[in-house]
Amino acid sequence: MSESVAVDQPPAPASMPAPAQVKRRNGVIERTLADISHTMGHTLFSEDIARHSGLLQSLDPRVKVISMLALLIAVGLSRNLAVIAGLYGVTLALAWRSAIPVGFFIKRVWLFLPFFTGVIALPALFITPGPTLLSLPFGLAITRTGAMSALFLLLRVSTSVSMAALLTFSTPWNDVLKALGVLRMPEAVILIFGMTYRYIYLLLNTANDMFLSRKSRVVGRLTGADQRRMIGATAGVLLGKSLHLSSEVYLAMQSRGFRGHARAPSVASFNMRRRDWGAFVVVAIVTVSAIWLGQ
């Protein structure tokens, strides 16, 4: 913070002036607060969807995890664009039948795709040899083979991400972890995943409170340098808090008998019903068909 708050400043007026209509410019505090509350809101929204009644929500989490892995393999092995597009269509249909808002679901997947996959796919448009599809200035040209490669990559990734998103939207995080345990995921890894998720949420809450507290005391606009100092200080305090928290949590675990070898309580409360076996068979047929048709 700059030393702008001097002790000889005039006293605040007795009556509150009406706020002037000025164009609002979001500073770093407002943007960070918005990002934090968006993330927390999204988490709560996802957990709420997972508790709705819907097609996928009614299935055993183990079936969902195994089905997702099988379909991911099918997407990876398929060399037919129509088959992959068909599988993408299936994920959209499943989202619709599972009370997951389809518009939100599509946006969620495609919003981040250009940043991660687009960067990889873009050069392929130009450098893959093949017949020219579109000529561009400076001697650049998009080849048909390059366009197909980029399209394959984008569709494969979007379908795979959609399948993973379907699982997380339709299954409480706790059940996903338990299902991974059934698949012989080491107990220590499951414990770490569970604790990471739980404490990220707590630290987000702490960060939110810190920024709100800062916002309530900021008068006027902060300079860029002040904002950077403030973010640095907040990050430092959060790091200190998380380190203290981690040592306290370790003590709490020790106090209850933890000796460095995690024994995660696996609750075998899942019951395979007829519906689950049916889903299992359908997914097996779809997977085999997709691999066969995709060759």
Partner: protein
């Protein structure tokens, strides 16, 4: 008054503890606790109450002096022995002040199951203990909920359930009423009283004087220099205004009377919020 057995559970002689060898948290503390006793450890913030509980739970070890539990010295070497560690952890349960520290599992059920799982109990025993604990604390409906999405009172119940599944003989409770509404606080006091009646040793660190009379038969008082400065019955300690003032457990309260006169008197809430002018 609980039935106190003639067995010394904890015996501390001239115990000093300093964080990283520099920041002193306890200074030459000598005290003794018998099986079945209900003890309140009183002191202001930073007086060393929480550190004492962690020493009694074998989480920290004395920088100097001797701590014995169940007749055995509490040292790091002792806890390296699996048999001793199992026997000790099975008998002593600590409920941390901060429920966010205590509740680290993804669901209430798993939180309650953590301790019996670490002690290597069979799956059937774990299920039986967890179900009994959730029932005793009336939180069966919360079993699949994530602890971080519960209210303060619910979190406290889950924290107690996570220790109750150990079925400990000794309860160590660190500021258990912090952040609780009056109803939850009253429930918690009853819970502590019930544990005492069941013959368990209950050691509660607190600066909430209003609960001391109900939860303790004997009181140790820490000053801000991290010494034990007094011990006695709740009545002896709570009626010693000078002691409470000196240890920051009471304060001078200034108020005006109808005739405009100003009046100052020591103020605390030792006994169900009754206080009198001197």
């Amino acid at each position: 008054m609980n039935q106190v057995h003639n067995e010394t559970l904890f015996d501390l002689h001239e115990v000093t503890f300093a964080y990283e060898g520099k920041q002193t948290a306890l200074e030459r503390v000598t005290l003794s606790i018998q099986a079945g006793e209900r003890i309140a450890v009183l002191g202001s913030n930073g007086s060393g109450k929480s550190t004492l509980l962690k020493l009694l739970d074998g989480l920290y070890f004395a920088s100097s002096g001797v701590i014995k539990a169940f007749g055995q010295p509490l040292t790091e070497a002792a806890f390296d022995d699996d048999v001793f560690n199992f026997a000790f952890r099975r008998r002593v349960g600590l409920v941390f002040q901060d429920t966010d520290v205590q509740l680290f599992s993804p669901s209430v059920w798993e939180e309650a199951a953590f301790a019996p799982m670490q002690l290597g109990l069979s799956k059937a025993d774990v299920h039986a203990r967890v179900d009994a604990a959730l029932r005793a604390l009336r939180i069966e409906k919360l079993r699949d909920r994530a602890p971080h999405r519960l209210s303060g009172g619910e979190k406290r119940r889950v924290a107690l359930a996570s220790v109750l599944t150990l079925q400990p003989d000794v309860w160590l409770l660190d500021e258990p009423t912090t952040g609780l509404d009056p109803r939850s606080q009253s429930w918690l006091v009853n819970f502590i009283v019930e544990q005492g009646r069941a013959g368990h040793t209950v050691i509660t660190a607190t600066h909430d004087l209003s609960i001391v009379d109900a939860i303790a038969d004997r009181v140790y008082v820490f000053d801000e220099a991290h010494h034990v400065v007094a011990q006695g019955t709740p009545h002896d300690i709570l009626s010693n205004t000078d002691l409470l003032l000196a240890c920051n457990l009471s304060h001078d309260h200034v108020h005006r009377h109808d005739d405009g006169g100003e009046h100052t008197h020591p103020h605390a809430h030792p006994l169900a919020h009754t206080h009198a002018h001197e």
